[in-house]
Assembly symmetry: C2
Homo-oligomer: 335 residues x 2
């Protein structure tokens, strides 16, 4: 195949939407069981009591990935499949996304949330072509929020509200961004207390973004709010909605972000690298996001103003973030 | 009145539930207008375009509080009313809650989220008697999550799922808490960069809770996750659900927490002060939360184990948190 037709892509999108709905239902049913919902059978309840929450979540994760993989393999036998569970068990240390038609799937993003039954968890399904995410579906069943996008077809919440939510007109980025912005970030799993660990690099960056203007030797960003949800995928979905202005994070894998980036780009957002380019973050080109880089910066969709285009206001925001954040040190295993 | 009857309290509860539903609908309708929903009239759309998001939110906030206050005053003319909007404009610097039958209302908690249309916003309504929150209603309409509780009647999500969500049995607090816990906290509005500001006290506390066990001179808490939602009220609701294990925050007012505490206590949670008692946080009594103290620590509902009661596991967790957090400096205005 040398190119993909509109009709073929629309068919893939419709298939991904249905798959996301079915997989989300599986996640919610497993959550209901853990809540001891009335409709669980005695056998199911005994099963839940026997295993601990973490085992059950691992089982759900694997079941949902197997379901999605089987459905895709049957429908599109020539497509490549990259899933979190399959990859974690494999030995590959290379970039996983090449030019092939590829499905990139996280059966359960926000695993810690799911274990604790905090509603910010989801299934995430992306379809990529020539390395570009063209279709993205995110289903957060406990929130009853379903995000979907296909290149050329718009990005949607619950198939009825087009993203971003405010679009008549889409507001530009605030004039003094990051001031006025909601900044979304995650603490992650790397909690080493050594002086230059990712934990301390992140915290220094967070404090720069939070501090009053004039604080931090003039670097204070005075963001409007800092949010941490525990799901990279949903962080990206809320950037696409326009609710979060900025998301900055390191440590994610391809399946954590592929669907979210598809939705963000189709909504008009910008995605690039979290790490400020050397030597000059004020003039370096703002490169398109590279899936697999493990360090991401996302800016919400933005409209133009009399003095700049929407893209210019996004790029201005990227540079203001880069001035305030540290490089993060996440490599691929073995890299 | 010297005491309140079961029948009277149930009547107050039913009234509060209906009021929360109506007020939540007002919030969502105002949000829909800002999204340019199809059903808005031309006049409404012009109004939205003329004013900026912050003015519109202030207007909504005031409208919803006026609606709630009018309804309460008509139904219970002898009851006291404490609302965020009324108080902010008044001059009172005293504790606002006394022994009278009192309604304590935040028409819109999570204001920054509401401005940005991030779904974590809600209306919060509490009824207090002799200083104790007996009824709490929280409606987060964009999430379609409705929390309610009345002393002796249980705490509920959407009037159908009893809280905490996992209750057969309710799990004890983790043996090595705060390890294994979701820790919920907020960055707040005090962003001064001076060395001993609340911002830096908070950050130091967050890092202690996040760091690997053995880090921070042995104080590392290695929590399972850190979450910041931007709504004290919803933080408390998720602690009552059992989704968040620990919430620690300073700077809130009575209306930010009254309904959440009513729901948390009825679900079996514990609420006390955020600030470690002097001189010894290991033995000092764990006092019941005092509304108006502005510094709060909440622990989720917990069941017993062969070695300790649920309450013991909660109190153990309180002391482990106190070991890792700084005192916060939030006084009442003029105090």
């Amino acid at each position: 195949m040398t190119d993909i037709s509109r009709e073929e892509l629309d068919g893939i999108y419709a298939f991904a939407v249905q798959l996301g709905k079915d997989a989300g239902r599986m996640l919610q049913e497993a959550a209901n069981l853990r809540m001891g919902a009335a409709h669980a059978s005695r056998e199911q309840k005994e099963h839940v009591q026997k295993e601990n929450a973490v085992d059950l979540v691992t089982e759900t994760d694997e079941d949902v990935e197997a379901f999605i993989k089987t459905a895709i393999t049957q429908k599109f036998p020539s497509h490549k499949f990259v899933g979190e569970e399959s990859y974690s068990k494999g030995a590959s240390r290379d970039y996983l996304i090449d030019d092939s038609p590829t499905w990139c799937v996280d059966p359960l993003d926000g695993t810690v949330n799911y274990i604790h039954l905090f509603p910010m968890f989801c299934v995430s399904i992306a379809f990529l072509w020539k390395g570009r995410p063209l279709v993205g579906v995110i289903n957060a069943p406990f929130l009853e929020q379903f995000f979907s996008a296909c290149e050329g077809r718009g990005a949607w919440l619950n198939e009825e509200r087009r993203l971003p939510l405010v679009r008549e007109p889409v507001p530009p980025m605030p004039a003094k961004a990051p001031s006025g912005c909601i900044f979304s970030c995650e603490w992650g799993k790397d909690r080493r207390d050594s002086p230059d660990s990712n934990l301390h690099r992140k915290v220094e960056s967070f404090v720069n973004m939070a501090s009053e203007v004039g604080g931090r030797q003039g670097g204070g960003g005075m963001v409007h709010g800092i949010r941490s949800l525990g799901s990279a995928t949903l962080d990206l979905a809320y950037v696409a909605m326009g609710s979060f202005d900025i998301w900055w994070e390191g440590g994610c894998w391809e399946w954590d972000v592929a669907a979210g980036i598809a939705i963000l780009l189709e909504a008009g957002g910008l995605a690039t690298t979290a790490n400020p380019p050397y030597p000059n973050e004020e003039t370096a080109p703002i490169e398109e996001v590279r899936l697999g880089s493990r360090a991401y910066l996302a800016i919400r969709p933005a409209g133009g103003s009399p003095t700049e285009t929407g893209r210019q206001s996004q790029e201005r925001t990227v540079r203001e973030v880069w001035k305030r954040v540290r490089n993060l040190d996440y490599t691929r295993p073995g890299a």
